[in-house]
């Protein structure tokens, strides 16, 4: 007996949408709902999440019946970790160390996940970008961003 297939990708999408609908729907119960002629703050979110809930069920129902689901796209873990890490490195660097170290950290983290990274070009890139961007944004546009802070 052939196992019945369903479209995993769409089931996940539908469940995510259902979750959003439930969260906003339940959340809006905390506020006055009111009536159509005198809408309280909860009226519109409740209505919208109700419709979203129904449509999310449609997505799930259709996905379960889907007979020829497409191959799900593979998750690009390397890119995901690299880019997210790079943004986080910038945020952490900016908070504690200042603008120049933030850029250097951000570049290095991204370089760390790439297979083709070579040491010298990456170091030059980090150095060039941090100084260049600092000159453009802090010196040129006058944004209040200290080059170094805290421990230095």
């Amino acid at each position: 007996m052939a196992r019945r297939k369903s479209n995993v990708r769409d089931v996940i999408a539908g469940l995510f949408l259902l979750l959003v609908a439930a969260a906003f729907g339940l959340g809006s119960m905390n506020y006055t709902i009111g009536t159509a002629s005198n809408m309280g703050p909860g009226f519109f979110p409740l209505m919208a999440s109700g419709i979203l809930g129904v449509l999310a069920l449609v997505v799930i129902a259709a996905a379960v019946r889907d007979e020829a689901p497409p191959e799900p796209e593979p998750i690009a873990f390397r890119a995901l970790i690299g880019v997210v890490g790079s943004v986080a490195a910038f945020a952490i660097g900016m908070r504690w160390l200042g603008f120049v170290p933030a850029i250097v950290l951000s570049v290095l983290v991204l370089a760390a996940v790439q297979r083709s990274t070579r040491l010298v070009p990456t170091a030059l890139l980090a150095l060039g970008m941090s100084i260049g961007f600092w000159l453009i944004f802090a010196k040129g546009l006058g944004l209040p961003m200290p080059a170094f802070r805290g421990v230095f």
């Binding site: 990708r9 769409d10 996940i12 999408a13 995510f16 949408l17 959003v20 906003f24 959340g27 506020y31 006055t32 009536t35 159509a36 002629s37 005198n38 809408m39 309280g40 703050p41 909860g42 009226f43 519109f44 979110p45 919208a48 999440s49 419709i51 979203l52 449509l55 449609v58 997505v59 129902a61 259709a62 019946r65 007979e67 020829a68 799900p72 796209e73 690009a76 390397r78 890119a79 995901l80 690299g82 880019v83 997210v84 943004v87 910038f90 945020a91 900016m94 908070r95 951000s106 570049v107 991204l110 370089a111 083709s116 990274t117 890139l125 970008m129 961007f133 944004l143 209040p144 961003m145």
Partner: protein, 506 residues
């Protein structure tokens, strides 16, 4: 001759050195980002949004407008040279542009693209100038129920027509509407969904959302894609010149493409991508020898390129006259206006003539600048494609971080971008369109407000939306779109976009 007087007024506003500079900067940066594969107009506009916060409103919108249509110009460069579309609306250009490049005619393809884009844009601007004043005075006479119906049909069309599954598009619009309710309620002042956080009282800000779900998410998904693409051709100025036959074959496709682009650009939900696909299909239909298509037919480049640029300009028609954007990029433009304290809507032309006519005048200027940027300077853009992505990628990430940080000098905003970036990438993986979410998010307050006002006036009677013939028709169209979306989900068949792609592949 009022139009001419208005245009003269607009040119006066647009030709100040400051506005001229930012118009140039906008189209330059737009082309730059458009050329890079995987990063489209939406990411370009959201990345540059913070830069415009420090500018006067007219200047800001002139620059952002330039970024938008500039990226439509630039998008085709990567399509032709790398077979990777720089923007989605130039995906079609790959079909014949890349074969042209492979047979050593990349220069001709790039030249024709610039010329076709220019004429398409001009057609779009003329349509905008001619129709906008009349449309907006008509729109000013709409009551709340009619206005609600217009917004509704706009959202439904944008969600169901553009890409992927229509039901999922509708869902994303509603998720956007819900995200738009976060913050203080306009009527009662009560804070909704803020979890007591004072930072959320004013609502979730537009920039972290837009930069996250477009900027960061697009970088993640194009990270692997772009590696290994190499440009081999050398583009010299001499190689740009088309032959007499090329020129003759391009004239009619440009005319047809421009017309198609103007119509589809004005309608909500259709926009530049659909316009370019349609134009390609039309050219293939009318061609004497359709088998040349896909092997480097100049019509397959000229038609779609004029269509997507015409649509890009015509998209400003509903945005500026009704205050209703037909696409997420246009919604972002509206968001930018709102950040500057300008309420978009039918009275924009009357209340802020300097913004409206200045913007239109800047379109003329910007397109001439783009022609100059794209023909003599094409070598620069080609060289840009030679820069390895390993170097561009960290630069773009840092620019996003700096941009977001600079708005409030807040590290929290950077984490928000990160959050929305991951969310955006996740949504992409399960085929949920983030563009629809952004439209819902920006139009959310407007939807809620016009719904509340209509029902207040009608004393809670929902039939107010189907009383007038105008709103009745719009509500029926909305119902039709939603019904079709649900029906096509269950039929399990390919949606309109899949069918379209198949048609192109043939």
């Amino acid at each position: 001759m009022e139009v001419l007087a208005n245009l003269a007024f607009g040119f006066e506003a647009a030709l100040t050195p400051v506005n001229l500079f930012y118009c140039f900067l906008g189209v330059f940066l737009g082309t730059f980002i458009g050329v890079l594969p995987g990063i489209g107009a939406l990411a370009a506009v959201s990345m540059l949004l913070p830069v415009t916060f420090y500018l006067p409103p007219a200047t800001a919108i002139i620059m952002l407008g330039g970024v938008f249509y500039g990226s439509e110009y630039g998008g085709s460069t990567a399509s032709i040279l790398l077979n990777l579309p720089g923007t989605t609306s130039s995906a079609v250009t790959c079909l014949d542009g890349y074969p042209m490049a492979k047979s050593g005619r990349a220069g001709v393809a790039l030249f024709l693209t610039a010329i076709a884009s220019f004429f398409g844009s001009i057609a779009g601007i003329v349509a905008l100038v001619v129709s906008a004043p009349a449309l907006s005075s008509m729109a000013r006479s709409l009551g709340s129920p009619e206005y609600f119906a217009v917004v509704l049909v706009g959202l439904a069309a944008a969600a169901t027509i553009t890409q992927g599954s229509a039901v999922k598009g509708l869902c994303m619009v509603i998720v956007g509407l819900l995200l738009g309710t976060v913050g203080a309620d306009a009527a009662s002042g009560i804070r909704r969904f803020t979890f007591g956080s004072p930072e959320l009282a004013g609502g979730i800000s537009l920039v972290p959302i837009a930069m996250g779900i477009f900027g960061i998410a697009e970088i993640i998904s194009s990270f692997a894609l772009v590696k290994g693409a190499k440009v081999h051709d050398k583009i010299t100025l001499r190689s740009l010149l088309p032959t007499r036959a090329d020129a003759r074959q391009s004239v009619m496709p440009i005319v047809r493409g421009s017309g198609l682009g103007v119509v589809l650009g004005t309608l909500p939900g259709t926009g530049a991508t659909l316009a370019s696909f349609m134009s390609y299909a039309v050219e293939k239909q009318v061609a004497r020898d359709p088998s040349r298509f896909g092997k480097g037919a100049v019509e397959g480049v000229a038609g779609p390129e004029s269509a997507n640029n015409a649509a890009a300009q015509a998209a400003f028609i509903p945005t500026l006259t009704l205050g209703i954007p037909g696409s997420a990029t246009m919604a972002l433009m509206l968001g930018a206006l709102m950040i500057h304290g300008i309420t978009p809507g039918p009275s924009l032309i009357k209340d802020h003539p300097d913004v409206f006519w200045g913007l239109i005048a800047s379109f003329w200027i910007g397109n001439v600048l783009l022609l100059l940027l794209n023909i003599p300077l094409i070598g620069l853009w080609v060289r840009l494609l030679r820069i390895p992505y390993e170097y561009l990628c960290p630069a773009i990430i840092c620019l996003i971080c700096i941009g977001v940080y600079s708005i409030n000098n807040s590290v929290t905003d950077i984490y928000l971008v990160m959050f929305f970036g991951v969310l955006g990438y996740g949504m992409r993986l399960v085929d949920l369109q983030p563009a629809a979410l952004l439209m819902g998010f920006i139009l959310g307050p407007l939807v809620e407000q016009s719904l509340r006002r209509s029902l207040l006036i009608s004393n809670g009677d929902y039939s107010t939306f189907v009383r007038g013939p105008f709103s009745l028709i719009l509500v029926l169209i909305t119902a039709l779109l939603v019904g079709r979306a649900i029906f096509s989900a269950f039929r399990g068949g390919p949606g309109p976009s899949a069918a379209r792609e198949r048609e192109i592949e043939d």
